[in-house]
Structures are given as C-alpha cells and as structure tokens.
C-alpha cells in the first residue's frame, strides 16, 4: 500500500516565495521572500500575529492559494500536482464535519471522492478512528460529540487517505485549554507513531514550543519569516516539560523573534 521508495527531496521547499493580493486599496503583501525547507518527519509550527502570512503559507502548500513569486514544491512537485498525488491532508480550525453524515461517514468522505474500494474504505475508517481514539464512535452523528472529539474526527478524516504531510491551521484554536493540552499530547503521540510531516499554524507560544521540532516565527506587513528555531527538546515530551529551563528558553526566543518583527506593536 505505502510507497516505500520515497524520493529523497524534502517534504516542502519554498524559495523566495511571495504572494501579493491585489485589492481595491492597492496591493497587499501576504507573503514576501519566504525561503524555508521542511524535512520529512519534521513537526514545524508557524507562529505569529494575525496577518503574518502563516495561514497563507499553509494554503499555498495546499494549492488553495497561488503564490505570485518564487517557487514552492511539495514532495518535489508543484502544489497542484501534489494535491492530485494525495500528498497532504488539511485540518481547519473548525472541524467542519457534515451534520448529515455519521463520524465514520465523515471520515469516509475523502475516500469516496478519491474512489477507494468500499472494503478498503471500511478498513481505513476503522484504523484512523483507532488512531485518534474514537473507536466505537463511528456510528454517532457529529452533534453527539464534544468539540474536542469532533476535532479529533476531523484529524482522522485528514489521515484516512495516508497523506504523508498533515497541514493543520489552528486546529485547536477554538477549544479550551484543558482539552487543548490533551489533544496536544495525543497529536505528539500520533506523530511519533505515524512519522508524518506536520505543519502546524498556531497563535500560542507554549503550544508551538511543546509540539515542534522547528518553530517558524513570522511577522506581518509584509508577511515574512523573522526567525527559525530548531528545538533542542527530545522527541519524547511529557506535558510537564513545559516547566523546564530549556522550554522556557525557547519560549523566550520565540517572543524575541516576535518582538523583532514588531509583532507586539499595536
């Protein structure tokens, strides 16, 4: 099933990437001169204030936006081709489950669209439900689940077709902090079991530092990268790692990166 002979190129490679929206008030530089290479199996967080282009970058990777300058490859392909090759799954801030489908039916949605045979659909749905610890909830409808469980189901939906890149746009932004802690732990667990490359957009410094192997700090007007931090934290991370000096040191550096980009200026 899985393609074992993976090409050696990085998962995502952006060179001098720029994206300018033409608006009635003149051009808006959503991204300028973004150069970044994301290796396979990395967990990369994008952090910065609103308008810094972190979501725009993620959407460009998913071929939902089309950059106006520079080059961008996903698994060595143009984003449009990567989409057709099912290179990535996308998780939005809202779970966006269809109310008329059961949880299993929702996870089956991409598989139906991509034309998987029925028996394989069933097998995959059962497997990813287990991965996000929702086994036994397949026949429930979305309204019967809590917000955190709905977001887990939406992650399962993105995992169902075995994309090796997971693009997550503030997936836990709408959840309370206790649920968010739990899901952060589960996400790390999932990442270490599956070996996916994860790009994770967030507003939260602790979330970014806790989850990532690399943290990309971004600033607005124009959207650009101000710092890229390789985390020295081990891959195995209990929640209380957040009280260690190393963790606080990285948090401090993220904050400095944000300040350097005038992100705290209002």
């Amino acid at each position: 099933m899985k393609d074992t002979a993976r090409p050696a190129e990085p998962a995502i490679k952006a060179r001098s990437l720029g994206l300018t929206f033409q608006t009635a008030d003149g051009p808006v530089h959503a991204l300028r001169d973004v150069t970044l290479t994301i290796g396979r199996g990395d967990f990369v967080s994008f952090i910065g204030p609103s308008g810094c282009g972190k979501t725009t970058f993620l959407r460009s990777v998913a071929a939902l936006e089309h950059p106006t300058e520079g080059s961008l490859t996903v698994n060595g392909m143009a984003p449009d081709a990567a989409r057709l090759a099912r290179a990535f799954g996308y998780v939005f801030q809202a779970a966006g489950l269809y109310p008329w489908r059961t949880i299993a039916g929702n996870i089956r949605l991409p598989l139906e669209i991509m034309g998987f045979p029925r028996a394989e659909q069933d097998e995959r749905v059962a497997r990813v439900l287990g991965l996000v610890e929702l086994g036994g909830f397949g026949t429930k409808f979305p309204w019967q689940l809590s917000g955190g469980m709905q977001q887990r189901a939406s992650i399962a939906r993105a995992l169902a077709f075995d994309a090796d890149i997971l693009l997550m746009d503030e997936p836990f932004g709408a959840l309370d902090e206790i649920v968010r802690d739990r899901l952060n732990e589960e996400l790390l667990n999932l990442w270490s079991r599956t070996g996916k490359t994860i790009c994770f957009v967030t507003h939260s410094i602790p979330e970014a530092v806790y989850l990532s192997t690399r943290i990309v700090v971004m600033s607005p007007r124009p959207g650009r990268i101000t710092d890229v931090i390789d985390s020295p934290l081990p891959r195995e991370r209990p929640l209380d790692i957040r009280d260690t000096p190393e963790f606080l040191a990285i948090s401090q550096r993220v904050r400095e990166g944000l300040r350097a980009g005038h992100s705290y200026d209002v």
Binding site: R83, Y90, F92, W100
Partner: protein, 287 residues
C-alpha cells in the same frame, strides 16, 4: 398537551366573533324584509333569522360546516355537487403543477449556482415573473395553450408551476450556496470535481432549504390551480365552485369551497412537513 387550552380558547373566540359578525351583517336583510311587511322586529326576533339565511352576506360557521359536510359526504364522489369531485380536479392540477414547478425551480437553481451568466440573467426574470398579477396572466396562458390544442389539466398545471417554481428557486439557490468557504476548500484539497462537490456537499446541505421552499410552493401551486379554473367558464374544480357560487349569489357555497381549499392546502403543507421530519431524521439532522 399544554397547548390544548390556549388553542381551544383562540378557536372559540374566532367562532364567537364570527357569529357576532354574521348576526350584524345579515340583520340588514331581515330589517328590510320586515320593513316591507310594515313591521319593526325586536333584536331578539332578528337574531334567529340571521343564522340560517339562504343567501347570507356572511354565512354562519354551522352553515359552512354543514355545506362542507354535504359536499364531502352527502354526495357520490362523482357528482358535480361533490366537493370531493371538485377538490380532486383542483388537486390533480395542483400536484402536476407543483411537480413541474419544483423540478424547474431546482434545475434553475443548479444552473444559477454553477453558472455566472445564469446567475446574472435568470434571477431578474424569475423575480419579474412574480410581479405580474397571476389573475392577469392566467387567462392568457389558458387562451394561448388552448389555441395550440393543449387543454384540460395541463394549462392549469402550468399556472400552478408558474407560481410554485419561484420559492423553490430562491430557497434552493440559498441552500446550494449554504456551504461555507472552509467546507468548499476542504473538498478542493481532496481534488473533488464540481459534480462531486454538488453531490456530496451542496445537495445534502440544501435539503432543509428545499423543504421550506416546498411548503410555500405547494400552497402557491394550489392558488395557481384555483385561479386557472376561473377563466375556463366554471366547469369543474374548487375555482369553478367559487365562481358559480358568486354568479348565483350562493355565499354558503363560496365559503364551503374556500374552506375546502384551505383544508386542502393545510393538508398538503402538513404532508410536506411530515416528509421533512422523516427525511431530516434519516439524515441525522432531526431535532
């Protein structure tokens, strides 16, 4: 069950007001008759004479109910005096027109949502079509279709369809556009085709809107069928009963036909409401 008392009170109040109005409106005729006979009747003598007139200005509730009962149960259903017979004539045209109107409305909505040219060109015409008084255009449709040899149920159904397609277009355009940008983006990341987006997302999302439109549409279809019966010279149908009633001053007959039409419309709307509940429950969106 808590609603039984307030609902009964409201109905009782309507009936009391109705009787009051009937006495007040029908009293003129009684006084007139008495004046010709050189009498001046007291109020207590007038009241009984207002309740069972043959051609009252306003028939009393029991007159309407008994006429309705006579029309429904007192005749063979094939009789020209049976409200079941006339009701069926109107209902069959209503249903045919409703099906045509709903089909046309859904197709137009699909076109409007998927094609910008249609979006810009069809909607203004659909709105303009509803600003023309149906009473003005109905005879034209009947005459034009008659001249090309189309008679019977079809011209009436076309008028029904003319009225019922509009709420379906408006509701379905809104329903098919109900999915937000995020849900559409999600399908784009799967590389879904326009056809798949329609079948998996837009169509199911539009179902609640469709039922709301159908309820308005079916009532409009019934009005269309009744209006369509007026210019044909009062041959058959509830519209014909209304018209012949007004020719001969048979107010009781008019009111009975009106109530038959109202009951028919209420039943049709209730049936669609039932279909809505069953469908939404099956889809997991039931309350």
């Amino acid at each position: 069950m808590k609603a039984v008392l307030p609902v009964s009170v409201v109905i009782a109040a309507i009936v009391v007001l109705w009787y009051g109005a009937a006495v007040w409106m029908n009293a003129a005729w009684v006084r007139d008759q008495a004046a010709r006979a050189g009498e001046t009747p007291a109020f207590a003598q007038i009241v009984p004479q207002t309740l069972n007139q043959e051609r009252p200005v306003l028939p009393t509730p029991h007159q309407v109910v008994s006429e309705l009962w006579k029309g429904v149960a007192g005749q063979a259903v094939t009789s020209k005096r049976s409200l079941v017979y006339h009701g069926w004539i109107t209902l069959s045209a209503t249903l045919l027109g409703f099906v045509i109107g709903t089909g046309a409305g859904i197709l137009l909505a699909i076109g409007i949502v998927h094609n910008r040219a249609m979006d810009l060109s069809v909607m203004p015409w659909a709105i303009a079509s509803q600003t023309i008084p149906i009473l003005a255009i109905a005879p034209m449709i009947i005459v034009v279709l008659n001249s090309v040899g189309v008679t019977g149920i079809v011209p009436k159904a076309i008028i029904s369809a003319y009225l019922s397609f509009f709420p379906v277009v408006v509701g379905m355009v809104k329903g098919l556009r109900a999915p937000d940008a995020m849900q559409l983006d999600l399908l784009r990341t799967y590389g879904a085709s326009q056809r798949q987006t329609f079948a998996k997302l837009r169509m199911p999302a539009s179902v609640p809107y469709l039922f709301a439109s159908l309820k308005v549409g079916v009532a409009a279809a019934l009005v269309g069928a009744i209006v369509g019966e007026l210019p044909t010279g009062a041959v058959a149908g509830l519209g014909a009963r209304l018209l012949s009633g007004s020719y001969y001053g048979q107010t009781v007959q008019i009111w009975a036909a009106l109530f038959a039409a109202a009951l028919l419309a209420a039943s049709l709307v209730a049936l669609i409401g039932l279909a809505e509940r069953l469908t939404l429950r099956r889809m997991g969106m039931g309350r």
